[in-house]
Amino acid sequence: MTLETTTVQPVVPPAAHEHAIAARSLRRTFKGGIEAVRDIDLTVASGEVFGFLGPNGAGKTTTVRMLCTLLPPTSGSATVAGLDVARDGAEIRRRIGVALQEIGLDPVQTGRELLELQCGLYGITGRRARERAAELLDLVGLTDAADRRTKTYSGGMKRRLDLASALVHAPTVLFLDEPTTGLDPASRLTMWDEVRKINAGGATVFLTTQYLEEADKLCDRLAIIDNGRIVAEDTPEQLKAEMGHDVVSIALDEADVGTTEAALTGLEGLERVVSEPSALALYVEDGAASIAEIVRRLDRGGITVGAISVARPTLDDVFLKATGRRLEGQQDQAQERTES
């Protein structure tokens, strides 16, 4: 199924824009001088799934709210579907679909009523609205629950309905702000499938996430945002490739970071060392070949470590390299990888 179905063509036909989204020096400062977004530049090509990866409070939602015309930028400029967010808010709103992090559902209405109302707000009424609502309920697998009030829905069902409500008018650009946060793994996979279907239907998807795997699996390109600044931007593959060849992770346990790092200085093929509170990540040309020398050096220095492992770089390593720390919520995952 695609967005352009038999019942609804896009409310506004998509125009040919090289960039679905373009931002230049976009900044938002809140009261009290809090700089949520600091002069970011980004471009999202039409038809791509673009990921915006970052920890809580990095500036993802503020960026989305500015691009959706919900929040004016303090400075800088941005265009969505070729239109200026500061000047053409009304036109942009006709072309975009939005599912914000906070699920925007009216608990008093049924799923079907909510979608039919949403259709009405986009000028789709009567039989077309009923058909479009039924079609979207089917798309997100909620036909059986369509006539129940949304307050009885599970978290996953609410997310899917929220997504459906963002699609009623077949938007050109779809903003999904952490669409899988709080979902169980199965619901997350379902949501990924739905995002792929939507993108296959022609919509550009701008997706914020704090899940590395999600960014890796879903996105054609992504930007990493931290503390209001974009610190890396490229395809997931390219970002990982730029990391070097292998990552050797050393769980330090009781070992001292400085002493361990000093013992490994000058290691052959070592490109970079990133230290964390309880681990060291060594970026080396050939991980397997380096292990023996690493063990020898640690042994010579009388340093006892917990575990040593070799892996290909992940987006977590990209994040670590770009920010000097692991992505919030991914610490445990990183630790597990180190111990494996």
Binding site: R94, L100, G104, D106, L121, Y122
Partner: protein, 251 residues
């Protein structure tokens, strides 16, 4: 206009599905009506000049009508939507922001008509006679409902400005001084000098006096005109402030 109708229909559906939000707004004014009549009907028998041959219920009825229609329900519904994120969903839709307000007010009109009709019928059952007849009774219902719409603007304004449920809920408390600093128990000339001054500068007094005139006097163009004027002015000011606030919301 379509947007207002769609959002109004949704708000009416909300009222119908949450009767527990409307029933107390009906129960309390009826309770006060019965209790007040019980307490003072011997003090003010039908021979009392200002009652013009009617029981005290006729004098109290407009106060209960005001009590029934003046609620913070719309403000509360709006602030809950802000809390839940549905408000953002509406803001990002290609609709005029004003339609969010007018949709709520349309539902207030429907609720006001329903509750004021119920209170009026109870008043009539308790012995009140509407001297202006059926057309007067219809006008009482319409004016009461419109007062409810006008007052709802205050709750909406507080909801938009504070984005806080407790603050919006508390905004209803403002109505108590507005309702009680009026000739609600006795006419202006029976109030103490201070109370009379306060009541005369309180616009709500003139709404009560206008509605009361339809019950007790019949058709008094002067009192009805002032009543309509106060409701219109109050509605215009509060709605305009709400519209201005929503237009600049997060902008």
């Amino acid at each position: 206009m379509t947007e207002v109708l769609l959002l109004g229909r949704r708000a009416v559906r909300e009222i119908a599905r949450y009767p527990e939000a409307t029933i107390p707004t009906l129960f309390i004014p009826l309770f006060f009506l019965v209790v007040n009549i019980g307490q003072v009907s011997k003090t003010f028998p039908s021979s009392t000049p200002f009652l013009k041959g009617q029981g005290y219920v006729a004098f109290q009825l407009p106060v209960s009508l005001m009590f029934a229609v003046a609620t913070a329900t719309s403000g509360l519904a709006l602030v809950t939507e802000i809390d839940l994120g549905y408000f953002d969903k509406l803001l990002v839709a290609p609709i005029r922001r004003s339609s969010i307000i007018f949709g709520r007010l349309a539902a207030d009109l429907v609720r006001g008509i329903a509750t004021s009709t119920a209170v009026l019928l109870v008043g009539i059952a308790l012995g009140a006679r509407v001297q202006s007849g059926v057309p007067g009774a219809l006008l009482i219902v319409v004016l009461s409902a419109l007062f409810g719409v006008a007052y709802a603007g205050f709750g909406i304004l507080v909801a938009l400005r504070t984005r806080n449920v407790q603050a919006t809920q508390s905004s209803f408390l403002l109505f108590f001084p507005l309702l009680f600093l009026t000739p609600n128990f006795v006419p202006f000339n029976r109030l103490s000098a201070v109370m009379e001054t306060l009541a005369r500068i309180n616009p709500v007094s003139y709404v009560i006096v206008g509605l009361r005139s339809l019950v007790i006097d019949g058709w008094d163009a002067g009192k009805i005109g002032v009543c309509i004027g106060v409701i219109a002015a109050m509605g215009a000011i509060l709605t305009m402030l709400s519209l201005r606030t929503i237009a600049t919301y997060d902008r």
